[in-house]
């Protein structure tokens, strides 16, 4: 099985001229993510930083101008990581009703084949634990949820699907989530939820925020 890549030490890489990606070392877990949230808060206050956007145990830092000295930014990020204490977030709980399989879950059979489980077992394992919103990203209002049970770990699709509908519940690697709007996806879609996640006129526009706890509730498993 393909495993995810864990960094042995904090890693900083350039994303073009005006942004860098910080990757936390170690396992993909909530403890590391809580430190990433703390790092984001610290870095947002730096001069020239437009945004610090957490990913999954990583942080994309965008600047308002090209970096003249990327080495200095790298050193500052690693020092700030060393100083970051895990951030406590008061979690809110959401239960999302999901219809697994059928038209809304075209990859449920594939998941079962790839993992050697039955369809019902895949559903029971996916719906059988709490997930934390690690970060919002990809498209407006989308929450990256972790951590997926190791029995359901599956690499991303080789070729992304051109479009999956809003509400599609999917798995990619150690991550799961529910699409907030129609669009392409490289993950495996196993079900569908009716929950809405984003309203551009809302305050705030996104339903979820990092630290929230999500539980998927199976309302049906369709052939």
């Amino acid at each position: 099985m393909q495993r995810d890549r864990a960094r042995e030490a904090p890693h900083v890489s350039p994303m073009g001229l005006g942004a860098v990606l910080f990757e936390a070392p170690g396992a993909f877990d909530l403890a590391a993510q809580r430190r990433v949230w703390a790092l984001a808060r610290a870095v947002e206050a730096w001069p020239g930083v437009v945004e610090a956007a957490p990913g999954m145990t990583n942080l994309l830092v965008s600047f308002d101008a090209p970096l003249r000295d990327p080495g200095a930014v790298e050193r500052a990020l690693i020092a700030a990581w060393d100083a970051a204490a895990p951030l406590d977030v008061e979690p809110r709980r959401f239960e999302l009703p999901v219809v697994y399989g059928g038209e809304g879950g075209p990859d449920l059979d594939h998941m079962a084949r790839e993992t050697g489980l039955t369809r019902d077992e895949v559903v029971a394992i996916h719906a059988g634990r709490d997930y934390t919103v690690f970060a919002l990203g990809s498209h407006p209002g989308y929450g990256y949820l972790g951590v997926v049970d190791p029995r359901l770990f599956i690499p991303r699709r080789q070729t992304p699907r051109v479009s999956v509908p809003a509400g599609s519940v999917s798995i990619g690697g150690w991550q799961t989530g529910a699409s907030a709007s129609d669009g392409p996806s490289g993950w495996h879609t196993i079900g569908h939820t009716s929950q809405r996640f984003f309203d551009p006129g809302g305050s705030p526009p996104a339903l979820l925020r990092p630290g929230d706890v999500i539980r998927f509730v199976a309302t049906a498993i369709l052939p």
């Binding site: 393909q2 495993r3 995810d4 890549r5 890693h11 890489s13 350039p14 994303m15 073009g16 001229l17 005006g18 942004a19 990606l21 990757e23 993909f28 984001a40 437009v50 945004e51 956007a53 957490p54 990913g55 999954m56 145990t57 990583n58 942080l59 994309l60 965008s62 090209p66 003249r68 990327p70 970060a135 919002l136 990203g137 990809s138 498209h139 407006p140 209002g141 989308y142 990256y144 690499p155 991303r156 080789q158 070729t159 051109v162 990619g172 690697g173 150690w174 991550q175 907030a180 709007s181 129609d182 669009g183 392409p184 490289g186 984003f198 551009p200 006129g201 705030p204 526009p205 996104a206």
Partner: protein, 330 residues
């Protein structure tokens, strides 16, 4: 007001993009060719990132409902104002009732029609760019359609006609290929994880832009890129210009409407000052990637800024508009 008469293609309202909302999954959007957008706005004395109409290479007609200065930049679509030629990288003045007509792009892809004062639709999350997937920003969060009437901001820009040098002429890449658009690329974090022959192929191929490409990203046709060892990455933030290489698949260049995050291995990042060159290369056209380092990328950025500074200084020196005449902020 501007009235849209006949948009055959995917015309939309775009500005310099929506920054600062990545943390809730909202990406940049904005003009595919920000250099053209900026040029058009400088010609009019607008804020550089003011909103304009972006037209992706297909014929379009619109009518000015008021007297207004306007500017065209980006692709050459053989534009005509009330039947007479309206050049690219050029400012002109339209009388109320006059029609502007653009044909198929003859050079480049994306054309920008900017007006003095900017397109003044309501900003959403701090920008007038159209976020198509989210259905917000721009004009009612969607592509333009016949009958749409776009408000324009206040401006005192007068009836002058003048232009500036085309960016292709002002910003050549030395030794650029004849058979493809050359863009400069910084190797990205997973560059070394690709197999040696894939790395080699990345730099030596004239990649064809797939028809399955759009404002979100361009898929490239050429040899498959293979990783030396499979990696399953944790999702992380992306920026326009990132070239992802899905295992055994087609490379994808992330562009204006790209997702804010993803996790396919990154082989390189097209430097920001060259993104406009990709935007102006048609689907089916070819791209070549030239490796550069940080210093060369900075030099490219500085050259582009110097080009824009020359335009600003030239326009200020000519004194076409009173300094008070400024467009609304982006």
């Amino acid at each position: 007001m501007i009235e849209i008469l006949d948009p055959a293609g995917h015309a939309s309202v775009q500005d310099a993009g929506r920054l600062g909302w990545r943390h809730i999954g909202v990406g940049r959007s904005g003009a595919m060719d920000t250099l053209a957008l900026t040029t058009a706005n400088l010609l009019l004395g607008n804020a550089p990132g003011a909103a304009a109409i972006e037209i992706p290479g297909a014929p379009m007609r619109l009518r000015f409902l008021v007297d207004t200065a306007f500017a065209l930049a980006g692709a050459d679509a053989g534009a005509r104002l009330a039947g007479r030629p309206a050049p690219t990288d050029w400012r002109d003045f339209a009388r109320a009732g006059e029609e502007l007509e653009l044909g198929h792009a003859r050079r480049g892809v994306f054309s920008y029609v900017a007006v003095a004062g900017g397109i003044d639709t309501p900003p959403a999350l701090g920008s007038r760019s159209t976020h198509l997937r989210g259905g917000f920003g721009g004009f009612e969060g969607r592509l333009l359609a016949p009958g749409d009437r776009l408000p324009i901001g206040a401006s005192g820009a007068g009836a002058h006609a003048f232009g500036v040098v085309a960016p292709e002429a002002a910003l050549p890449i030395e030794g650029a290929a004849d058979d493809a658009t050359t863009v400069r690329v910084l190797p990205a974090a997973e560059y070394e994880a690709f197999a040696p022959q894939s790395r080699e192929a990345f730099w030596t191929t004239a990649w064809r832009i797939s028809g399955q490409s759009n404002r979100a990203g361009y898929r490239l046709i050429g040899p498959t890129l293979d990783l030396a060892h499979p990696i399953e990455m944790r999702s992380h933030g992306l920026v326009p210009g990132v070239i992802q290489g899905p295992a055994g698949g087609q490379p994808i260049i992330q562009l204006a409407d790209a997702y804010t995050a993803g996790g396919y291995p990154k082989i390189g990042v097209v430097i920001e000052p060259d993104l406009w060159r990709i935007a102006q290369t048609p689907l089916g056209g070819r791209l070549r990637f030239r490796r550069c380092d940080h210093a060369e990328a900075l030099a490219a950025h500085d050259a582009l800024e110097a080009h824009l500074a020359r335009i600003r200084i030239w326009i200020a020196t000519c004194g076409f508009d009173a300094p008070a005449a400024r467009g609304s902020a982006a």
